[in-house]
Symmetry: C2
Subunit: 168 residues, 2 copies
């Protein structure tokens, strides 16, 4: 396993936490759709659909739903699958590595943010070091992602992941 | 080895040829920079620089030069590396899987075309079946790539690859 992440503060967003959940449990939370739907989106938002084809080039698709019932699909594919250690996926490519269709003019209200996320989980004591880097191709994308609430959102989702897996 | 390509005629461009060059020789032509520079760009254009970090997420960078001396860099990364059988790379992601920076308004003269290429080489007789699929995220990209001369360009480059490797 080699880490391919070269973190660039201008382009990247990082979340790092030490949690009392084993790497194996974190892996299950990320790769089993029934688990993922229970923690992936901070309440009162929900993840109402999830498709996972766990291999490089395989589909990673989720649908988030706002409290008002509006649905927001997120399509992407996996790039690296290292069981219990690292999961890399991107919204810049869809299933089979096909480049994502550019957002049309009519999708302005939900401005597309292309990013690649590298989620790593390393054993540490009884739990693990949980580390996410979201890499963008330009500073504007990083800023929009940050303003949309990257840290709060991924942090709150992680709290839900921890709570879910601790009662599993 | 599983093929991840789902060919869509609206979005994809395909080149298929049976050539008298072994899969191993085709692999060398594609993955050794000194070989690649000799065949990759149809004359009188040249490939004047080439960097290859042959692993998923690794850099694939070339610089093409027009007969007038203008340089056109192409940055991307590898997605799948299956020695002597399949090489997949994309211009939608750069090294480390980072999404490509969007083309700026000042780069209109060389409109960016995001695509993922899957190059496969299968043993056939003394040579191989050589197959390339270039996948795009929208029909407009496929059309622009076709109008730029995808078939003529990749075909002429392949003629150069065959000539080079047959004298090796």
């Amino acid at each position: 396993m080699t880490s391919t992440a070269q973190i660039d503060p201008k382009l990247d967003l990082v979340l790092e936490r030490y949690i009392d959940v084993s790497p194996e449990m974190v892996w299950t939370a990320w790769t089993d759709p029934e688990h993922l739907k229970q923690w992936f989106t901070p309440a009162p938002w929900k993840t109402v659909d999830c498709e996972i084809d766990l291999r490089p080039g395989g589909k990673f698709h989720t649908v988030m739903q706002s409290p008002e019932g509006q649905k927001f699909p997120n399509a992407g594919c996996y790039l690296e699958v290292v069981p219990n250690r690292r999961l890399t996926f991107t919204s810049a490519l869809g299933p089979g590595f096909r480049p994502a269709a550019p957002a049309g003019a009519d999708s302005k209200e939900c401005a597309e943010i292309l990013f690649t996320a590298i989620v790593t989980m390393e054993p540490k004591g009884k739990g693990c070091r949980y580390h996410v880097v979201a890499m963008h191709g330009e500073e504007g994308s990083r800023k929009r992602h940050e303003e949309m609430g990257f840290h709060e959102g991924w942090g709150a989702a992680l709290d839900q992941l921890v709570a879910l897996m601790q009662k599993s």
